[in-house]
């Protein structure tokens, strides 16, 4: 319950930051304040233990109504902490990795963001989800996580959009999602 509260306050902070930068009633806010902080953070919770490849990689860790319960050891499970706001397929199960697109896809430079809690170091990080585009839906490791996910009128937090803006060849087609870290969110 404590962690949940902490998480909520992070999301609220993002929302307020956005509002502050642009005025509550402005159009779309910017995460500028965040980014400055983020790029100064040298230590990242990147998993350096190598990937725990499970040959039998059925979709696991699916969220239910009891909420998102993050773990920090299996990047190919839906409940891996960085995936807290992914509605789609983990690229790690599609020929990519946690932060790389599969061969033959195109990486969109645009992203939606969420604030995810890492149980490994008890810290919260900002994740910028990027879609790998130009192939049909991967179909493996399908996750529906919605931690901090906002409606479409707050597009920068919405995971319902095909986030392929700026992808090669104008391919607005969804294949899978990677979970790179922007930086600490608190």
């Amino acid at each position: 319950m404590n962690k949940q509260n902490k998480f909520d306050s992070t999301i609220e902070k993002i929302a307020r930051t956005t509002a502050n930068k642009t005025g509550r009633r402005g159009f779309i806010g910017k995460l500028g304040g965040f980014l400055v902080g983020a790029t100064l953070l040298p230590l990242l919770p990147v998993d350096r233990r190598g990937r725990l490849k499970d040959a039998h990689a059925a979709t696991t860790g699916t969220m239910d109504r009891s909420g998102f319960k993050p773990q920090d050891h299996d990047t190919q499970a839906c409940d891996y902490w960085r995936h807290c706001s992914i509605d789609g397929n983990l690229c790690d199960c599609c020929g990519g990795t946690l932060t790389s697109c599969p061969p033959g896809t195109s990486l969109s430079p645009s992203s939606w963001v969420a604030s995810c809690y890492n149980p490994g170091d008890d810290q919260t990080y900002l994740i910028a989800y990027r879609d790998c585009c130009g192939k049909q839906t991967c179909g493996r490791c399908s996750c529906l996580n919605t931690e901090g996910e906002l409606p479409v009128y707050r597009p920068e937090f919405s995971n319902d959009i095909v986030w392929c803006f700026g992808a090669d060849n104008d391919d607005m087609t969804y294949h899978c999602t990677i979970s790179p870290v922007v930086g600490k969110a608190s």
Binding site: A15, R25, F27, M63, S142, Y153, V162, N169, D171, T173
Partner: protein
Amino acid sequence: MRIFQHYFRNGRSAIAGKIAIATLLAASQPVLAGGAVPSQLGSEATVQLMDEPTILTAPPSDAKRVYVLDPGAFHMTSQIFTIDGNNSELLGMTDAGKLPHVLLGDNGNFMAVPSTVYNRIARGIRDDYIEVFDTRTLNVIADIDIPEGRFLTAVMEHMATLSTDDKHLLFQQFSPSPAIGLVDLEQQKFVKMMPIPDCYHLFPAPNQNVFMHCRDGSMLQISYDNEGNTQQKPTKVFHPEDDYLFNNPAYSRKSGRLVWPSTNGKIFQANLSESGAEFLKTIEVFSDQQKADKWRPGGWQPVAYHDDRNEIYLLADQRAEWTHKLPSRYVFVIDAASGKQLRRLELGHEITGIGVSQDDKPYLFAVSADDATLYTFDAVTGKELSSIDELGRAPSMVFLPRE
């Protein structure tokens, strides 16, 4: 109705013309496609039968006609299932491309489907278009080219709409800049991308008016003429920033009633008309005790509204925060005037989206993406009446005429 007849008179020949061009193109290839019966197959290829095979036509649409959309999970092709909701009988299927909209016009006599395809499955040349189908024959009666501007999201019912008089179709563009695409259905042609500010959803009102919901919590009223020139007027802010509204509100083209729940259990309502938006008193759905017991709304298409009964149907379950898109097993029926809970229906299945028929013996239609099944309930008693399964990969939305 006039438009519909127009399609039959002129639409057919327009389509036939397109096909003729396609055939000409094909004929310029060295070898034709497999259209003719291959000569080497001999007489068994056209064997005479004792049975008389035919192609069926669906019965006319009624209040309990239901369309179930399976867009998959952002897949490149979709299926729309036409179902007789009286008895869960499947009447036919319609194909569409990536993340299509399902727009029912003329009391359900036609269906317009804005759609997107690529010529190499998920890459290559993009083509956006609107197909109009006769809902009895399921034949295409118009195929209208539009700019490649559809905003591709998990399907949101009101990101495209027919005007209240079925003369126009409007669809939303997000990139490279916000706009509404205006399509003239009578002329069967795209008119213009009409620039708008950063607003979302399209709720039509009479006499070429449409309302959108903007990021700041206000609505924007847009009047447009036949050439796509607009006048735009904002309403007041009607909901706080931290009441996050669901992506799929209920809206009645007939009455102009907009019913919009938030993830924390409030319901915002407005009556939209040419003269503006009239906002109603916000409903707090759940009691303090229910909130303490973690009752919250949830699902993809979580709300339906019955015009004549003035009843709101809301998908809900006991759940943690931030699980607002997961399915629910219950529907709370709320009086839209008083905000009181009238009854709670236990559906017994994991339901993704709901709709209610607008007749005086209403049925509640509840689709489960998990089960790929449409369940039908008596909307008053909550009794499960029938069901139909094997509806594709992940059917997530239901559509009814006149809603």
